[in-house]
């Protein structure tokens, strides 16, 4: 501890105080970076992996997404006369392997991330629930 008498000017602490003062006065590129969440939201990137969306016309119900999923999140269920995937978002890793694997490119992940809910059953997103994106044919 004898070095205290050598460094008695405490210049290190003073330099630190100057850095903090620069932040108080917002000199340089030191502005406030908070995004106040419920009132303002940040825009997600186009490649963001959020909730899934299935293209009704392109999906053939082959089940490749079901076998590729690491976590057994997807189940293929019958909906009307066709078979479509049903996602259990409570178990989903949001890894995107199902999107990579789909042979028809029918599956994509939207930018929706506010998926919290009250019961486990309500986290199972079946084909009828806003899971459909009808592609407008050109």
């Amino acid at each position: 501890m004898a070095w205290i008498s050598k460094n008695w000017t405490m210049i290190g602490i003073i330099k630190g105080l100057i850095v903090t003062m620069k932040h108080i006065l917002k000199i340089g590129n030191r502005k406030t970076v908070t995004v106040q969440y419920p009132y303002e939201r940040m825009k997600v990137a186009p490649r963001f992996r959020g909730r899934h969306a299935v293209d009704e016309d392109a999906c053939i119900g082959c089940g490749i997404c079901e076998t590729t999923c690491p976590n057994s999140t997807i189940q293929i269920v019958k909906y009307g006369t066709r078979w479509f995937p049903e996602f259990n978002l409570g178990m989903c890793l949001f890894c995107g392997l199902c999107v990579d694997a789909c042979p028809m490119n029918a599956l994509k992940m939207t930018g929706e991330y506010e998926l919290a809910d009250y019961t486990r059953e309500s986290l199972i997103y079946g084909p009828e629930r806003i899971l459909f994106k009808k592609e407008v044919s050109k």
């Binding site: 501890m1 205290i4 460094n7 405490m10 210049i11 290190g12 602490i13 330099k15 630190g16 100057i18 850095v19 903090t20 932040h23 340089g28 590129n29 970076v33 997600v44 990137a45 186009p46 490649r47 963001f48 992996r49 392109a58 490749i64 076998t67 590729t68 999923c69 690491p70 890793l93 949001f94 890894c95 995107g96 392997l97 999107v99 990579d100 694997a101 042979p103 028809m104 490119n105 994509k108 992940m109």
Partner: protein, 381 residues
């Protein structure tokens, strides 16, 4: 005078143990006489999952090992699979891999600095670190869609190419980061109170570090010049110009300085990569076809579900931000590995903690423990 030692339990739920980790300390007054570490509160059986999932399906599980810097985990596993099956990787993919891994090194060291200073009482540094981390995570989000569990690297290359506008934003990040590191050094490096808390605390000599199996920046702070990127260069590291940062003293302050230097070296590497990024494919030709091009494919890589590497076993290691991360993958010719063993850097570094702290007080334990830089996902797997 006869005295008894007191058994003190710094329990799993504690603000400064970086996760759920338990210390059983034997104290003589204020001095620690013995320290036992109890791990396993976050054990999730990742290695067992390696035997139950195919080679492709296991990659998201490797993300969750060291969740602060997830790219090197992906890469270590994928490198093992590539060695096992003899898959070639195009040049552009290698450059992109090193780019994201070095960016992850910077991100990891920011969290390290922040949490070390938060344990010591100055809470401004963690906010600055997370402010910079936010910019890097937005880069990652534009690249692969996720901020923490990337699932980006595939055997044979990467999942998809860089988006438009990535390189200019990366350049901006690099310029910003250089100025901020100067800020951090002024705020922390010379601070006399920080020096009082970390100099000559938690000293471990070079021989002891090697004997305990410590690797990474914690060991390079003791004077052992061992960096896997220099010793067994993998990927494109032999073409890049950087140096392995090292200090000699072996105390907490040296380990801290090594990581600040490493952040600078990573920025240097990033600048070189941005300058020399080649054009080309980002995935091995064999795994890049999309089977039915009904609509333009979102991703450029399509790794098959039925992928059977030849029988054999391989141990491959890389220099993760926390140390040497090694994957031992044994294959028996089926679609699932026979055994995946993970040599995690945090677990091996943690073993040296009792040696460091015997004879010190509890605040010194916190300072020394903060500089080893562990994350519980890595320790417990």
């Amino acid at each position: 005078m006869e005295t008894e030692t007191l058994l003190l339990n710094m329990g799993p739920v504690h603000p400064s143990t970086h996760g759920v980790l338990r210390f059983k300390l034997r104290m003589d007054g204020e001095i620690i006489r013995d320290c036992q570490i109890v791990v396993g509160y976050l054990h999730r059986g990742t290695e067992k999952f390696g035997e139950m999932k195919t080679y492709l399906q296991f990659i998201p599980y490797t993300d969750r090992l060291d969740y602060i810097a997830a790219m090197p985990n992906n890469y270590a596993y994928v490198k093992a699979v590539e060695e096992l099956a003899g898959i070639e990787v195009p040049q552009r993919a290698e450059y992109i891999r090193v780019l994201v891994m070095e960016l992850n090194r910077i991100v990891n060291h920011l969290v390290f600095m922040g949490s070390l200073l938060l344990d010591l009482g100055a809470s401004t540094m963690i906010m600055y670190g997370f402010r910079e981390r936010e910019n890097a995570l937005q880069l990652y989000e534009s690249l692969c869609g996720a901020r923490m569990t990337f699932n980006y690297i595939r055997p044979g290359g990467v999942r998809e190419d860089l988006p438009d506008g990535f390189i200019p934003k990366l350049n901006e990040f690099i310029k910003d980061m250089e100025k901020r590191i100067v800020d951090y050094e002024e705020l922390v490096n010379g601070n006399e109170i920080f020096l009082m808390r970390t100099k000559n605390i938690g000293v471990i000599s070079a021989e002891e570090a090697i004997n305990y199996g410590m690797t990474g920046p914690s060991m390079r702070g003791s004077g052992v010049d061992h960096d896997i990127r220099k010793l067994e260069p993998y990927s494109i590291y032999q073409d890049l110009d950087f140096r392995a940062c090292m200090r000699r003293e072996g105390d907490s302050y040296a380990r801290y300085l090594v990581r600040v230097d490493e952040m600078r070296e990573s920025l240097h590497i990033l600048k070189q990569i941005v300058d020399t990024l080649p054009e080309g494919k980002t995935i091995n030709q064999r795994y890049s076809f999309a089977p039915n091009t009904g609509a333009p494919s979102a991703v450029t890589s399509y790794f098959p579900r039925i992928f059977t590497p030849p029988e054999g076993e391989v141990y491959s290691r890389i220099e993760a931000p926390k140390g040497e991360l090694g994957f031992f993958v044994a294959s028996d010719g089926t679609t699932k590995p026979y055994r995946v063993k993970i040599r995690s850097p945090s677990f091996c570094n943690l073993v040296a903690l009792p040696k460091m702290v015997v004879g010190l007080k509890i605040p010194d334990l916190i300072a020394a423990f903060g500089t080893i830089d562990i994350v519980l996902g890595d320790v417990d797997r």
